[in-house]
């Protein structure tokens, strides 16, 4: 990726899935693209003034207004007759939680914008606090495990379903571990004449705590365990499901991560583990992940 539109020299952690994800997205979108990003790891690691890693026009305003800002960009480009891709790239905190109001507005108004969420399942930029995207039982700094706690007590918010409820014509999930699939989905989304939402599983080394060399393997295990199904919806219909050839037990995925460590130390967590297994099995059955 020597010609990547995200230049090397950015300040993301070694082993972070985010820059790899962004490079894949930009690679598929090409140079005729304007990116809008909310506040987050992506913003702070790529744009310390007077430096910038962005080789496409890039705009950051606030933590929760990316969808409104991008709406303004899109309306103005349309007014000028410009056929330029408008892509939002933001983390799960701004996507699932604080930006929900303006995300909903953008989806509902039907702007031709691709929204890419690099989903690392917590507020990583501020030090691993729980977000609405944090999965069940995950240890974060605001849902720590302890004698009275097994980590996050709630399941992950179903953001793709929220996008679908807005009749967003293209909604998909992807993973940094499946680059061909990810690139194809970006290209397909950009062909859609309306909003699209792409949620990419992007492991965070400091928040999930894993060995830097295992990032891709970990992301692949999320898919192979059934916890992160790769799905594709067009006009509300499920049109694509990535089949799992060799399903893996959820423990294989969970055990590689510090954020689930407590589940394997405490005997009372057996019930929690079985609930996570149920979630994976439910996904497999619901989406027909395994032939």
């Amino acid at each position: 990726m020597d010609n990547s539109l995200l230049a090397p020299g950015h300040r993301a952690c070694a082993g972070c899935a985010m820059p790899t994800t962004i490079r894949l997205v930009l690679d598929a979108a090409g140079p005729n693209t304007i990116v809008v990003s909310p506040t987050g790891c992506l913003e702070v690691t790529t744009t310390p003034f007077p430096e910038s890693a962005w080789c496409v026009p890039w705009l950051h305003s606030l933590f929760e207004n990316q969808s409104a800002v991008a709406s303004g960009v899109e309306v103005m480009l349309k007014r000028r007759g410009k056929d330029t891709n408008v892509v939002i790239i933001g983390g799960d905190g701004s996507t699932f939680d604080i930006g929900m109001g303006s995300n909903s507005g953008m989806f509902e108004r039907g702007h031709k914008i691709l929204y890419v969420c690099y989903d690392n399942e917590a507020y990583m930029n501020t030090g691993v606090q729980r977000s609405g995207s944090t999965p069940f039982c995950v240890h974060t700094t605001t849902t720590p495990s302890g004698s009275q706690s097994q980590g996050n007590p709630r399941p992950k918010k179903d953001m793709p379903a929220i996008a679908l409820a807005h009749k967003v014509p293209y909604v998909a999930t992807a993973s940094v571990a499946y680059p061909v699939d990810l690139r194809r989905k970006v290209k397909r989304a950009l062909e859609i004449n309306g909003p699209s939402y792409l949620q990419v599983n992007a492991p965070c080394i400091t928040g999930w705590t894993f060995d830097a060399g295992t990032m891709i393997e970990l992301a692949r295990l999320a898919v192979e365990s059934g916890l992160w199904p790769l799905l594709e919806y067009e006009n509300g219909k499920l049109v694509g499901v990535k089949k799992i050839r060799r399903p893996k037990p959820v423990e294989e995925y969970l055990k590689l991560q510090g954020r689930y460590k407590h589940l394997f130390k405490k005997t009372e967590c057996a019930d929690m583990l079985s609930q996570i297994k149920d979630m994976a099995e439910d996904n497999m059955a619901r989406y027909g992940l395994v032939d």
Partner: protein, 397 residues
């Protein structure tokens, strides 16, 4: 102020503002409804629907999004417009700082209204005075005509390359937004000559990729803030210059930064802003006929605060009485505090007394203004009063 009465029309204030906005040719209007701003944006929607105004009108999910949309519009090279009030302005608060920090020359009419709790939809100026430090220029209008004219002037000031600072045109909610009064609507062609198309030097363009909204660490942040501060200082002569240019084109002028009424020989000067100026002028007429040397200083530009102009205009006053529709709870109020600060670093030692009045839409009467003058006369004799709430109904406390 001279008006060509042949072109005068009796219209609602909000219609007059919408018409002025039309003459400013915004690319995108983005707004969220809130009383008493609604008639402005309803009129604009209708103008777009009728094809009279070639703008995109975005109906958004909140005031927060309304202003955020315009960040994108501006970065993509467009002229943006919004209008709000009160709680809506408060919901925009984070974006207000962002817009000025990004040096985006947006213009917004603020239909001044009280802040809750308790909920109150009527006029005071707590909303915009409370937002005095967000980096926007603030111009206050006395009547609908001034609000109309200030709206066109605002874009010219905001978009000036040396200024590049957003402007709020503040007009009292209901009192000016819902009043029907004779107004000379702007001539579209003259407005176009006065305000050329917006041509920013830096825009989002794949042919010339640029990064907007990078973060600044302690080694550069201060200089960004200083540049904003400096731009507002440069706006002081620019506001005056634009007011004079407007006079040349349209024949109307009512002060650039400040204006006066019986100011030259006034011993007691009432300093205020907004639509109450008209009432104060009536009170002064009555008191002058009784031989009282009372005058008025109207603040047109509250941000930038015209320190030098105020010192010059008020240096001969015996007592200055500030009346304003806002309170800085725990302190005094915005204007009186700023005025005291402006004078303390000069050699002027005129007594300054302050009053909160007209909160939440309560009428300010000529009797109230006479009360202020009585207090000012006492202050002149050495009986200086502390900041107080005018016409406080002590019986219901």
């Amino acid at each position: 102020m001279s008006n060509n009465t042949a072109n005068m029309k009796v219209v609602e204030g909000s219609y007059a503002i919408a018409h002025a906005v039309m003459c400013c040719r915004p690319d995108v209007i983005s707004a969220y409804p809130i009383t008493p701003q609604t008639h402005i944006v309803e009129n604009l929607s209708q103008m777009v629907a009728n094809g009279e105004l070639d703008s995109e009108f975005l109906t958004v999910d909140s005031e927060f999004s309304a202003l955020s949309v315009l960040v994108g519009v501006c970065a993509a090279g467009g002229r943006g417009y919004s209008s709000t009030t009160s709680q809506g302005l408060a919901l925009m608060y984070e974006v207000l700082y962002n817009v000025s920090g990004l040096r985006m020359p947006l213009v917004m009419n603020v239909a001044n209204r009280a802040m809750g709790a308790p909920l109150n939809i009527w006029n005071d100026q707590q909303d915009s005075i409370g937002a005095r430090d967000v980096g926007w220029i603030q111009i206050y209008a006395e009547n609908v005509q001034e609000a109309v004219d200030a709206t066109l002037q605002a874009y010219k000031i905001a978009e000036d390359r040396d200024i590049r600072t957003p402007v709020m045109v503040c007009m009292d909610g209901f009192v000016l937004t819902h009043v029907y009064e004779p107004v000379e609507l702007l001539d579209k062609e003259k407005a176009r000559e006065f305000l050329p198309d917006f041509k920013p030097e830096h825009i989002l363009d794949p042919a010339r990729p640029m990064t907007f909204g990078a973060f600044a660490d302690p080694s550069t942040y201060t200089e960004f803030r200083y540049q904003q501060f400096e731009a507002q200082l440069k706006a002081l002569p620019k506001i005056e210059e634009v007011a004079r240019q407007f006079e040349e084109s349209f024949g109307r002028y009512y002060g650039g930064l400040i204006d006066g009424y019986f100011l030259d020989d006034a011993e007691i000067v009432i300093v205020t802003l907004g639509s109450v100026v008209g009432t104060v002028k009536d009170a002064i007429d009555a008191m002058r006929s009784e031989g009282k040397k009372v005058g008025l200083l109207k603040i047109r530009s509250y941000r930038p605060f015209p320190v030098q102009a105020l010192r010059k205009a008020l240096k001969d006053a015996a007592v200055i009485a500030v009346m304003e529709k806002d309170v800085a709870i725990g302190g005094e109020a915005g204007l009186v505090t700023d005025l005291k600060a402006a004078f303390y670093s000069s050699s002027i030692r005129t007594p300054i007394i302050g009053f909160a009045a007209g909160l939440g839409g309560r009428d300010i009467t000529i009797k109230d203004i006479r009360k202020i003058v009585e207090k000012a006369e006492a202050a002149r004799k050495g009986d200086l009063s502390e900041f107080e709430f005018l016409a406080l109904r002590k019986e219901i406390l």
